[in-house]
């Protein structure tokens, strides 16, 4: 029983990575209708930037703040330069652009920082804490707490501020938002910036666990895509719940389903994507939408 509890908690810990990336993917999808396959590598770039700053002697938390600001600017810039020219294009065009971004950014990261994996020291120290019989490292607990606060702040921003309200309006119906004098282009850039920031929090705070390398976010991206599919791309809360569920499910499957193991953990997101698309394509929390011909 204790072992099961241990597996659930550590799964929940990884689930926070998937939840943040899934939320970032949803923010972009709701605004521009694009599934951003580059969301993971954008977080990787943020982690590398943090590693550079920290290894040059900067305090971890100061580096985190600077990296978040830089990630915000990078996200908004990517929207302006690469997405704006194809805004309103078919999903296939959007897909091509974000996959191109993924490949391009991965190359840029490797060019700047090289392919060798790097290690970022945990800001939470090397201790561990016992939670109802299960043992969690301070890094696991601290990272989960930071991401949880980020997700709550992002939720509050969208729900309770007038800027969040305008962003929702611009995402849901750009044409009528323009007629309400809402600067839709600026709102979409803001959405990309925020998505990049949320992803960067996960990338930097989990870097001590994942190790800093060009491929550090690859499997997390797959699990995040499965999480967004499970929760529904239209639902921010659903994506977060989906991420946490996926984290636990992947961990339990690798421990208890014979033959899966940690190497085959990625079977879980594929199985989830397949089942959700088959049984409930709009996701658990999404709504069926239709497009007027």
């Amino acid at each position: 029983m204790t072992e099961l509890w241990q597996q659930v908690l550590s799964g929940l810990g990884s689930g926070f990575i998937y939840a943040s990336l899934a939320l970032a993917i949803c923010l972009v999808f709701q605004g521009t209708g694009a599934v951003n396959f580059a969301q993971g590598v954008m977080a990787t770039a943020s982690a590398y930037l943090a590693w550079s700053l920290v290894s040059n002697g900067m305090n971890f938390w100061l580096a985190l703040v600077l990296v978040l600001a830089a990630s915000f600017v990078l996200g908004a810039l990517i929207e302006r330069v690469f997405i704006r020219p194809v805004e309103g294009s078919s999903p296939l065009v959007m897909l091509t652009v974000t996959v191109a971004l993924l490949i391009g950014l991965q190359a840029v990261v490797a060019l700047i920082w090289g392919d060798d994996p790097q290690q970022l020291q945990s800001p939470f120290g090397g201790g561990s804490v016992e939670v109802f019989g299960a043992r969690l490292t301070a890094q696991q607990l601290g990272a989960a707490a930071v991401v949880l606060v980020t997700l709550l702040l992002a939720g509050a921003f969208f729900r309770f501020t007038t800027l969040g309200l305008r962003m929702r309006a611009a995402a849901q119906n750009p044409a009528s938002a323009r007629l309400l004098s809402i600067d839709v282009g600026r709102m979409l850039a803001l959405g990309w910036g925020l998505a990049a920031t949320v992803g960067a929090v996960a990338g930097v705070i989990f870097a001590p666990t994942l190790g800093v390398s060009p491929a550090m976010m690859d499997s997390s991206l797959l699990l995040a895509l499965a999480a967004a599919t499970l929760g529904g791309f239209e639902s921010r809360g659903g994506a977060v719940v989906g991420g946490l569920v996926l984290g636990v499910a992947a961990n339990l499957a690798s421990r208890y389903i014979p033959g899966i193991g940690s190497d085959l953990q990625l079977v879980v997101p594929f199985a989830v994507i397949f089942l959700v698309l088959l049984l409930r394509p709009q996701g658990l929390f999404g709504r069926v939408s239709s497009v007027r011909a």
């Binding site: 501020t161 007038t162 800027l163 309200l165 305008r166 929702r168 309006a169 849901q172 119906n173 044409a175 009528s176 938002a177 323009r178 007629l179 309400l180 004098s181 809402i182 600067d183 839709v184 600026r186 803001l190």
Partner: protein
């Protein structure tokens, strides 16, 4: 409800404002794949009250609205209170005081009536994006002000008791009112109403007509509506413009329009005679 800047500062008693039309359309034309949807349309919308545009399906009514709000760019000129709208984007036109409703109300379904109404007022806010992101005193003050204006607009439309209701739960008639309240929060000079009676019952349409008349008097905004319901138009409009095949057939007071033989032939038919 506070009146819009132009009407508020000059008021209804000011003769010069009374004489200057809120909207002047001059020789407006637009062609889609060879089809002339609007063909040299010219008329004025007087400041204050309700003006209606009527015409059979495909006459160019909604196209006219799309040209005024800047979604389509036609040839010719459109002036808002003497200022040319040429080259101005939809969002710049909204900021100048043109608000609009749609045939099918476009609301944020998961949000409250209040949040939906507030969305109309951002053309009036001055605090920048950064200011909103870090929630400065100025942005919070503007938000309080926006909430107050939204409450006033909801009051005008009889929506105050529904402020916390979810937009998705409202029946069609009330959704129209939310959309109109949203348009009014911007304190516009001109509100374009695209078929406000579509999809609601005859009785509701007549109630809505009275609401519009009251609104034009109390809000200070001029209402320009496109409508199929002749009953509603005759009840509210001070002036009527009739379009047919993209051309202006006649424009004038309802009594004049009713008797025009071209209108009878093109549109009103038996309805006008009865």
């Amino acid at each position: 409800m506070t009146a819009p800047p132009s009407a508020a500062s000059t008021g209804r008693t000011d003769d010069s404002a009374q004489q200057r039309p809120v909207l002047s359309i001059r020789d407006l034309s637009i062609t889609f794949s060879g089809l002339r949807a609007l063909d040299g349309v010219s008329f004025d919308v007087p400041t204050g009250g309700v003006t209606a545009v009527i015409g059979p399906n495909g006459a160019g009514k909604t196209t006219l609205f799309n040209c005024i709000s800047g979604i389509y760019r036609g040839e010719g000129d459109i002036e808002l209170a003497g200022e040319s709208l040429e080259g101005k984007s939809p969002h710049a036109r909204a900021a100048l005081g043109i608000a609009r409703t749609f045939q099918t109300p476009t609301l944020i379904e998961d949000d409250t009536v209040l949040a939906n109404v507030m969305l109309g007022g951002f053309s009036q806010t001055r605090a920048g994006l950064l200011s909103h992101m870090v929630l400065t005193l100025r942005s919070r003050r503007e938000e309080t002000d926006l909430r107050e204006r939204s409450a006033e607009a909801m009051d005008l439309m009889g929506l105050l008791p529904l402020a916390a209701a979810r937009a998705a739960d409202l029946p069609h008639g009330l959704r129209r009112r939310v959309e109109l309240a949203r348009a009014l929060v911007a304190q516009p000079r001109l509100v374009l109403l695209d078929e406000p009676a579509a999809g609601i019952s005859h009785t509701e349409a007549l109630e809505f007509a009275d609401l519009l008349t009251g609104l034009a008097e109390r809000s200070g905004a001029t209402l320009l509506l496109v409508e199929h319901s002749v009953a509603l138009v005759m009840r509210v409009a001070r002036r009527i413009a009739v379009l047919d095949f993209g051309k202006l057939v006649v424009e004038g007071e309802p009594s004049l329009v009713r008797q025009d033989p071209r209108v009878l032939a093109a549109y009103l038919g038996d309805e006008a005679e009865s």
